[in-house]
């Protein structure tokens, strides 16, 4: 019994086909309550289709899912009352003011008008649009629109908030602001399903990450788990004046590198970990050989590398 309450979303064999094309292929997925669940994947991987199914916009071709403990098949209107969505597009009326937009949605959610007004003002305060609440949205910047969209998604106090690439197209400040807002919201207990292309964002924000490709989830775990498993190890990057094959083989032996690659004057050594006195040994050797080093970088594996290793999509698009 407790199990049912721990998961905000459970998918079993969720499938969506468009004609002969299978956009989402027998998806198995569990999202725990209260977490920020990151959904990563290249374009066309099926992220948005999955989100549209989970938010009742698309009906699945096969399989089933429970969202907020309700069945996707049959309970769609009930699910809609429990979930909030921040869609990719603005999806509000630019001709209306934020308050008017929210009031309209409040009516469609069947909320009492006084409650809508109170909640709208609260939310507009949170997203920093309170002073613009009676200004027509037409001239709003991308960031303002996105923040209003978040407010709209939260209006009816949903249990789960779906955010479909909410930071796409925003300037860095707006991205950071929105990311902070998301974290703040999550701290109040709401489960958030977050799709993004921004690996850094996913790394920083999400408790759990699923990487999707060709309609399937190909990896799932925390950021650390994914990096350990698919990151391809740590890297030591040296920039030198010149190098010889001897030098390269010496270095490889010294740090026990799994692979060495060279581009012009940059040497890239891949190691499983940076434990012990690896850096000391390296600097001692370089000093001894009198090799001028312009740069020495120690790099952890990034989520981007995980992503590219998994999807091999760096040049696919």
């Amino acid at each position: 019994m407790m199990e049912a309450f721990t998961y905000a979303i459970e998918c079993t064999g969720l499938t969506k086909k468009f004609g002969n094309f299978t956009a989402v292929d027998s998806l198995e997925l569990k999202v725990r309550k209260g977490e920020i669940f990151g959904f990563l994947g290249p374009n066309g991987a099926g992220k948005t289709t999955t989100i549209k199914m989970l938010t009742t916009l698309f009906s699945p071709t096969a399989g089933s899912a429970r969202v907020a403990s309700l069945s996707l098949i049959g309970d769609a209107p009930l699910i809609r009352a429990k979930i909030g969505v921040v869609p990719q597009e603005f999806a509000l009326f630019v001709e209306l003011t934020p308050m008017e937009n929210l009031r309209y949605l409040g009516d469609l959610y069947g909320m009492p008008p006084e409650k809508t007004t109170k909640r709208s003002e609260e939310l507009l305060n949170i997203v920093g649009l309170y002073d613009k609440k009676d200004v027509v949205c037409e001239g709003f910047s991308g960031g303002m629109k996105q923040r209003l969209s978040v407010a709209a998604g939260l209006l009816h106090t949903p249990d789960i908030l779906f955010m479909d690439e909410p930071t796409t197209g925003l300037d860095p400040q707006s991205r950071i602001a929105l990311r902070e807002l998301t974290a703040k919201l999550n701290s109040t207990g709401i489960t958030i399903v977050y799709t993004t292309h921004d690996m850094e964002e996913a790394d920083k924000l999400c408790h759990m990450i699923a990487i999707m490709d060709k309609g399937k989830i190909i990896a799932q775990g925390t950021s650390e788990e994914l990096k350990d498993k698919y990151g391809g190890g740590h890297r030591i990057v040296l920039k030198v004046d010149s190098h010889t094959p001897e030098l390269l083989s010496d270095l490889k032996k010294l740090v026990n590198a799994a692979a060495v690659s060279v581009v012009d004057h940059t040497i890239d050594l891949r190691v499983s970990n940076l434990s012990g006195n690896l850096v000391h040994k390296l600097s001692a050797y370089l000093t001894q050989k009198r090799i001028a080093v312009h740069e020495l970088n120690l790099r952890e594996p990034s989520l981007e590398e995980v992503f590219i290793n998994l999807t091999k999509k760096d040049l696919r698009e």
């Binding site: 698309f58 209107p77 809609r80 969505v85 869609p87 597009e89 509000l92 949605l105 469609l108 959610y109």
Partner: protein, 557 residues
């Protein structure tokens, strides 16, 4: 190896900007074609539109108006009125659908819009025409359909002219043949009269000579008879003298001797003999005379009877003469009549039953109203569903627990109200600016408008639900709304269109709305008169609303 990128920048491959670059021009044309080709929802209307429009233009404006439904009331019921009727039946300007017994019946069919024109033939049509007067046929025109009314009025002028000419021609032909026949009769009568006169003359002459002959003959005969009778009398005297002498001779003794007496006796006897002979002769002469006289009398009598006969002929000739005289005067009449026939025997009186002093706008307003509501609703709903789908705001609505039916009905309700308000505005402006007279009550008008707007906004909703964006919507709306404009009967009369177009007009809601609005606004009828229209409009509304709900898909692929 790949060539260095810079090589493409030397201008040899067309990267230098020319004023007009034909290659690039072609590329732009080809690209636009590709873009349009992919958008089937827009492409099909784009191609269909000109085809439909040219068909409508071709079928409607090319041909003269024909087959306007009409009815006739014939109060005259004479050969002439039947002739007028047959002309009306054979004329393809009108299609005579009813023959009513009374004006009231005819007027009712105008009121209900069954016929658009009513011909009333007056009771004295034939008399008037025969008298050389102009007979007036009344034409009641349903001016609530201004296009048809105009067409009817114009057509009637042509028709009457034709009818008059034809009637005049046939009348002239008839009169000419009559006068020819009269002339022939007169000539014949005159010829007969001539012979009769001749015959009478000769009869007179022969009677005269017969009379003269008879007179001289009877005179002679009388004279002869006198003479013969006196001679016979003389002879009888002589005979009796002789008989006396003979007596004396035989009875007297001292007379001469017996012998001489005997001699004397013999001599007297001889004389007696001769006298008797003469008497016999003259007697027979008289008999002959009498006989001759009898023949003369017979001749006279027959001459008299001949004369009597000839007198009869004269009498007959006299009658014939008077007949000829009257024939002559008749001929003169005929000639006069044929001169009269040259003036129009028939004229039309156009009767406009729904009020005098009305302006064209009064009659046009209902159709204009019906058309504007259709245009507004069909062109305006692109923003509703298709537009919201395009900008994503519909998605937001989908994310709320709101049913398709609520979304459709809610959206449509707004446009329904909008159209109703717009209609009131049109009526208001028409009243203020053009002093339009509206016969029916405003509530009835509003009821029609709301029911109608339900259907027209329904059409808009169906199109909005089927299309992905406003461009597609507009292409589809054009396909429906412009033909509607031409088939609505506002600019071109439906009645005179070819059957196919009439059939199409018959399924357009604008046709029923315009009809209902005309009945109420112009003719001032209550709603009960337009129930069939209201049923059609309601059915249309229900069908379109149901369709838009059924066709409304949350997922568009």
């Amino acid at each position: 190896m790949n060539k260095p990128l810079q090589e493409n920048g030397n201008g040899a491959n067309g990267s230098v900007e020319k004023f007009i670059d034909l290659g690039k021009l072609y590329a732009i044309v080809a690209k636009n074609w590709l873009v349009m080709k992919r958008d089937t929802i827009r492409l099909v209307p784009l191609i269909m539109f000109p085809i439909i429009m040219i068909m409508i233009y071709g079928y409607t404006t090319g041909s003269p108006p024909r087959h306007i439904s009409a009815a006739v009331v014939d109060y005259d019921n004479t050969p002439t009125s039947h002739e007028v009727l047959s002309r009306l039946y054979s004329n393809d300007l009108f299609s005579i659908e009813h023959l009513y017994g009374s004006q009231d019946e005819g007027r009712r069919s105008i009121d209900t819009g069954v016929v658009k024109a009513l011909f009333i033939i007056p009771p004295n049509l034939e008399n008037d025409i025969n008298a050389g007067k102009t007979a007036y046929i009344s034409v009641v025109v349903d001016e609530s359909e201004p296009i048809i009314a105009q067409t009817v009025k114009a057509s009637i002028q042509v028709f009457v002219q034709q009818l008059s000419q034809e009637l005049t021609a046939s009348r002239l032909a008839l009169l000419t043949s009559k006068s020819t026949r009269a002339g022939q009769a007169i000539a014949q009568a005159e010829a007969t009269l001539g012979t009769v006169v001749d015959n009478t003359g000769s009869a007179d002459a022969s009677l005269a000579s017969a009379t003269a002959n008879y007179r001289s003959m009877s005179y002679l005969s009388a004279k002869t008879s006198d003479m013969l009778l006196s001679t016979v009398a003389e002879l009888r005297n002589t005979l009796s003298f002789l008989i006396d002498q003979n007596e004396i001779a035989t009875t007297s003794p001292n007379s001469y001797s017996a012998s001489s007496a005997a001699l004397q006796l013999l001599a007297v006897g001889d004389q007696q003999q001769s006298v008797l002979q003469q008497i016999a002769t003259y007697g027979s002469l008289e008999a002959v005379n009498q006989k001759m006289m009898g023949g003369g009398t017979k001749i006279y009598v027959s001459a008299n009877s001949i004369y009597g006969e000839s007198q009869k002929d004269v009498q007959a000739a006299k009658v014939a003469y008077t007949l000829v005289g009257s024939a002559g005067s008749q001929l003169a009449d005929i000639q006069e009549a044929s001169q009269n026939a040259a003036t129009n025997p028939i004229s039309m009186l156009v009767v406009e039953p729904y009020g005098s002093g009305r302006h064209a706008i009064d009659y046009l307003l209902p159709s204009i109203l019906a058309l504007i509501i259709f245009q507004g609703a069909s062109m305006g709903l692109g923003r509703a569903i298709a537009g919201e789908r395009r900008d994503g705001s519909l998605t937001r609505v989908f994310l709320t627990p709101t049913s398709n039916t609520t979304i459709i009905l809610g959206t449509q309700m707004f446009y329904l109200l909008l159209e109703s308000v717009r209609s009131c505005l049109i009526i208001l402006v028409a009243i203020i600016l053009f002093n339009v007279t509206i016969s029916g009550d405003l509530l009835s008008i509003l009821v029609i408008i709301v029911i109608y707007a339900l259907g027209t906004t329904g059409v808009g909703m169906v199109m909005s639900v089927l299309t992905r964006n406003q461009e597609q919507y507009m292409a589809m709306a054009m396909l429906i709304s412009l033909p509607t404009m031409f088939l609505s009967g506002v600019f071109l009369p439906i009645q005179t269109m070819p059957a196919v177009l009439q059939w199409i007009a018959g399924i357009l809601p604008v046709t029923y709305a315009a009809d209902a609005l005309r009945m109420v606004m112009i003719k001032g009828f209550p709603l009960s008169y337009v129930i069939p229209d209201l049923i059609a409009l309601s059915a249309f509304g229900v069908v379109t609303v149901t369709l838009s709900v059924l066709l409304f898909k949350r997922e568009l692929i």
